[in-house]
Symmetry: C2
Subunit: 418 residues, 2 copies
């Protein structure tokens, strides 16, 4: 690829080098570049140190066309990204009224006074343009370093994502690469592992394949990305469309959405369209399914509430699960999952109700009912289906996350047939 | 810090630069180094390219004492870490019988035949020692690059962790640093922003301060890290202890734990110690508080369940909130928060109950009750306290995450005084 088509990241932060969390920003930047035919060629993680930042920026400017610096734009003394970039650019910092108004507006919206230290956030290198941050205090900026274009963006992934969408993406659209066009399509799947997926996808995933399929898995959701490149936009799109049709055929049982990475949003969309009331009764997931459902803005129109029935007593008293059922079959069983789903539907007067009861671990497992065993019940208009899943004992939070995704996918299937 | 005390990572992998997943290896390495008084100074993420690997290794060898190369040790043609390191060391690759026996043993244990391509995995640079991999096929190796010691380790985090424990840690113990020792202490705070914290911490955060305080914020939890260095371990510890005492005094209203980054775990610990029963009634957080509580293994001993009462009708019918209260004050108000907390405590027969009702947005706000307004109620043994918080309208999920953290901290305070 040409030098202009490749980009580099300088991720700034002592906490990254102290091992407190991974660098989550570079993957976001890589994925934002991809539809524009640009790729990351290097990432440098550096401490909050002016010279280290300047050195990394200077090095990248010799070999990439786009540089992203993330983090270190906060108000405290250890936030020195502005200074490091200005040093690499060989210019002074100046106070930007535009940046300062953005910081002030943020504080005004939140009804708080601005600490004096925040004035630092309005400093940008001479000649740089301000990039607006709609979801945090730290403004970003864009400037030239030699022949390269540099974007300085805030470190928190949520703020970074918002600025990639609203500040970087429009710039990239205005500066297309010549003779290289990409087309992309996304599929979101549930209920199959990465290795089973890779086996079934076969040579579609081989390096050099065009379109190329890449996949990532998170909390039980498999995200497959079809990416084609060609000399014209139309040709790239035709390549992706053809492979997408074949993909849909091959994976139809597992695809839950081609728009929403989050099954809760796919579900919310259907529920709201059909005005279908929903509730749930959770044991091992302890509120995670309800928490996921309520990520959807406006869901209150169809979601009156839910029960977290953790103890057996709560299952009996609040959902009407017969104590004999619990005694005979145990709380993690098909009959109890069924009774919980029915109880929740009745209690909330909802057409659709989901129940989940399982053994998340680390304790509580047995040879017959091991850690990772989870039962689900789905009640739609009084008719209940149950499903058993057995996941590997990969840790309490993973089992709970898998069960939550499965619950949302089951609700989605039921909502679609309602 | 001296050059010997600092380390660098070269993380190898096209998938890291394609944004498929973050570099999870560097944080593991950073945390493995810390107890030995060593710190990461730089991370370079590079593609599966022999020259890029050699360049990054050569650059690091000029400024750090320890180099870790992760990934690219597999059997396929794009695994070129061995070649890149050999080029940086200026030596040839050789076949290692010891490494080959390790690969063979792995296949023997898994009952499969060895593909011919795996012979590549037995190649190591001339003069290097083999590092055994007990949980995967890829052996690692250790060699010198100039004055630096280099460890080449497999990329999958599970394999890396195992080799850090069994191959790297013993080496670090045998090679302690002279005259440079670190001590560290953590504080976890809630209810103050990063900039207010920085103002109150003042020169404790200034570069060159010893101990130095660094801070990061996630979901409303502020993590402050005190790090001291000195010529003896005792002196480093004394420095950290002294500053920690002053820190505790200055921030006592905000520190919720010195052990648990997760307020749910801090809370779970106290609840279980005191055998204090707990429940909650959630509106805007929609199950997130219950989901957080149930992250704690064994919490079923004190947590029977909880209510997600999203609609007004659910608040009245299930928690006994008087419809007049809802009509007069609105669902987001002190009287309703109080009634919800009382109702939840009674319904579940719990000594401690929390309620949360607020406007997460994006819709539903008004000038009097803007998006970001959240009321909390805490009922302990029948006595209720309420609290109002106003957060900036930073997006539905952030307001919900902040409210969840606040709820857990309120429960923790109440549980401590119970």
């Amino acid at each position: 690829m040409s030098r202009l088509a490749v980009a580099g990241v300088v991720a700034v932060g002592e906490e990254l080098l102290a091992g407190e969390h991974p660098d989550l920003d570079s993957p976001l930047i890589a994925r934002a570049l991809l539809p524009h035919g640009r790729q990351l060629a290097a990432v440098h993680v550096v401490p909050d140190d002016e010279q280290a930042i300047a050195d990394a920026v200077t090095e990248l400017a010799t070999r990439v066309g786009l540089i992203f610096v993330t983090g270190g734009l906060g108000p405290t003394l250890d936030d020195v990204t502005r200074h490091g970039v200005a040093r690499a650019a060989g210019v002074e910092l100046r106070h930007s009224d535009e940046a300062w108004r953005g910081v002030q507006a943020w504080y005004a919206r939140s009804g708080r006074d601005i600490p004096e230290s925040n004035r630092r956030q309005a400093l940008i290198p001479l000649g740089a343009s301000v990039l607006h941050n709609r979801v945090g205090t730290a403004p970003g900026f864009r400037c030239r370093i030699g022949d390269a274009e540099l974007f300085a963006l805030p470190g928190p992934p949520r703020e970074l994502e918002e600025m990639l969408d609203h500040e970087v993406d429009p710039w990239l659209r205005q500066h297309p690469l010549e003779g290289e066009h990409l087309a992309i399509h996304h599929f979101y799947l549930a209920g199959l592992s990465e290795s089973v997926f890779a086996e079934q996808a076969g040579d579609w995933m081989e390096r050099g394949s065009n379109p190329l399929i890449g996949c990532t898995v998170k909390s039980g959701v498999l995200h497959a990305r079809l990416l084609a490149h060609a000399e014209t936009p139309e040709r790239a799109q035709a390549l992706v469309d053809g492979r997408s049709r074949a993909f849909r055929e091959r994976f139809k049982e597992h695809i839950f959405s081609e728009e929403d990475a989050d099954p809760a949003h796919a579900l919310g969309r259907v529920l709201l369209e059909k005005n279908l009331s929903v509730t749930c009764a959770e044991s091992c997931t302890g509120g995670m399914v309800a928490a996921a459902l309520t990520r959807v803005a406006g869901i209150s129109a169809v979601f009156p509430g839910a029960e977290v029935t953790y103890s057996n007593q709560a299952k009996s008293r609040l959902l009407g699960v017969a104590p004999e059922l619990l005694e005979r079959h145990g709380a993690v069983s098909a009959p109890v999952a069924e009774a919980m789903a029915r109880g929740a539907a009745q209690r909330y007067g909802a057409r659709l109700a989901l129940s989940v009861t399982g053994i998340a671990g680390p304790g509580g497992g047995s040879s017959e009912k091991p850690v990772g065993l989870v039962w689900f019940g789905v009640c739609l208009d009084g008719e209940v289906r149950t499903l058993e899943r057995r996941w590997p004992p990969a840790g309490r939070e993973r089992v709970r996350a898998w069960a939550t995704t499965q619950a949302l996918v089951l609700l989605l299937e039921a909502a679609r047939r309602a």
